[in-house]
Symmetry: C2
Subunit: 400 residues, 2 copies
Amino acid sequence: MLIVKKFGGTSVGNRDRIFNVANRCIEDYKNGNDVVVVLSAMGKYTDVLIDMAKEINPNPPKREMDMILTTGEQQSVALMAMAMASMGVPAVSLNAYQVAMHTTSTYSNARVKRIDTERIRAELEQHKIVIVTGFQGVNKFDDYTTLGRGGSDTTAVALAAALHADKCEIYTDVDGVYTADPRKVPDARKLKNVTYDEMLELATLGAGVLHNRSVELAKKYGVRLVVRSSLNTNEGTVVREGSKMEKMIVSGVAADPDAARVAVIGLKDEPGIAFKLFNALAQQGINIDMILQSIGRHGKKDISFTCTDDDADLAKQIIDDLMEFEEIDVDKGVSKVSIVGAGMQTHPGVAAKMFEALFDANINIRMISTSEIRVTVLINEKNTDRAINAIHEKFNLGEE
Amino acid sequence: MLIVKKFGGTSVGNRDRIFNVANRCIEDYKNGNDVVVVLSAMGKYTDVLIDMAKEINPNPPKREMDMILTTGEQQSVALMAMAMASMGVPAVSLNAYQVAMHTTSTYSNARVKRIDTERIRAELEQHKIVIVTGFQGVNKFDDYTTLGRGGSDTTAVALAAALHADKCEIYTDVDGVYTADPRKVPDARKLKNVTYDEMLELATLGAGVLHNRSVELAKKYGVRLVVRSSLNTNEGTVVREGSKMEKMIVSGVAADPDAARVAVIGLKDEPGIAFKLFNALAQQGINIDMILQSIGRHGKKDISFTCTDDDADLAKQIIDDLMEFEEIDVDKGVSKVSIVGAGMQTHPGVAAKMFEALFDANINIRMISTSEIRVTVLINEKNTDRAINAIHEKFNLGEE
């Protein structure tokens, strides 16, 4: 079996942890598997490098930033190969250029274009564990690039796809994907399986286990993902195509407190107003989530939308400068609560059941948005924990 | 003019020093020159990386050691490019793979085979300052290599040769090459010129300004070397082919206290004894310097030689195990004192004058060895400073 295993910075943050990771990889190797390991930079070393750079130049050229940042992973992989060598296991570290991992030209936010697998295959054939730098690539100018947020997960999935790996294990500090945040919902339960789409909705909602870029890539190439802990040997959660036999309607409930609601009251009710507004926000890089537009009356209409707390004031200012309206209101004291589940596509009444749970808990719903596998409501932020517990219980998510 | 400038780790050890180097390079750039800069890793960062590696594996694979060590220079060059960018000067950093700097396969002690100059030329044509990682290369396996001791000097000279640079400036913490160590000899004088051969003899004697590998390379390709200080703008010393018009007979006097004398008394006087002895030492990597062999009598002979203090005990042990003799004596309390100068090839009596200086100072000579441009004597270590002062004065080296 060919296994790609990805470990984050915390997992290789010191000597003991490096050897812990080495042991886990060697176990698979000794069981006769081909093992490819993807590593991030050690601990917070990427932040250290960013600070070093900013001390020299507060606004460093992105090309040079990627040049310095890629050294972090190169150090991790070399140390891991040394650790394995000290345990008598042949290993070889490869950086993006040695792999080679070809990306688009965009520094600091490149996308994987193509991976040459020749070198990795040759090293595997010599029965070596192959340790690859996450987060980085090389562009057509022979310059180093980095893949942006969640980059090492993306490296692992892209490698698994290119190598036709049997699975891609993403090691984190949690056991897997839960029906709700276990710190908030005491009877939250770990899921054995979720679909790519469910995982994508959870990622978007800030459940934080996997970056959505890597899940999208896994879905596209059918890479079997396993989310598991580097601290124990529990089974983890498998992310794969949904099965028709899936019994669960709702897989989990997630909350995102980093939401703000912007309400623009008394806009002119004429064509192109919404386009004009959201186009202006998009050009400033503001991501809009839920959108609610009132029916026009007396030649006026209202538009409300959500964005992150950080973007809310900028959004207000852009709209102020852009168009005429009667009033604009920003409320940062709101949070998004969502239920996610591939099953709900074919089960009517799921949204109604969620609203009932909130009504029973006396929690007011401010906005509603739905996708085929998700229902999201906007509520007062202080009710977040009560809301997810009420919903979790209503759908019996704690039970197998 | 195309100038290659090399700065060591101390010169880029912190923010201020990085900007100091940036300024010196930008000055040449603004005067209309093409500038290629070669940098070492910052301060003692290479040692930090070595410690990190040894903590994981006390005997790390050399390939992986080079993989981690090369990150040090990559960080320096990226930071330097950022510094120059902040001053409005276009700069680009390149590592060994990007250059590309092709070396032999030997990890930790590779030699430069070939340098592609296409990328550097292209960047220079776009009026950028090009900043290249010293000390590193890439071998035929696409793996990183390091060039061993004095590696960054070698990188600079090799680049200067490949680019047909007008000069290669090596920046150090001293002003240039002196007639003697200024800390030991008060009236020591900085030399305007030395020949490659004189520089080589001085390097071998541990004068420490330039590594002999880089001087050999400069001699081979006729690269005009300038040794100067990164702390001031003094002119420095030019290293180049010797001129026939050179007035100085002796360029300088150098001392190396790291010498030990091993005397093997009462060896059998038969053919092959010296070969057997020195071959065994060479196989253990022990470098032998001065050799003295007595004329055989009564079927016996004596062999004395010098090596470093560190190697002396191992040498004794090897000889003990290898052959029969009457007695072996190791004396670590000796030092080598040498005069160096291209002029002495054609001037008889130079050695005699040196011996006279030592006789006047009542210093006993234990061994003598000569080359075409050097005379070395072995003396009691405690007399070292008196010896070099006496010789310096005898040859009037303090006078222009």
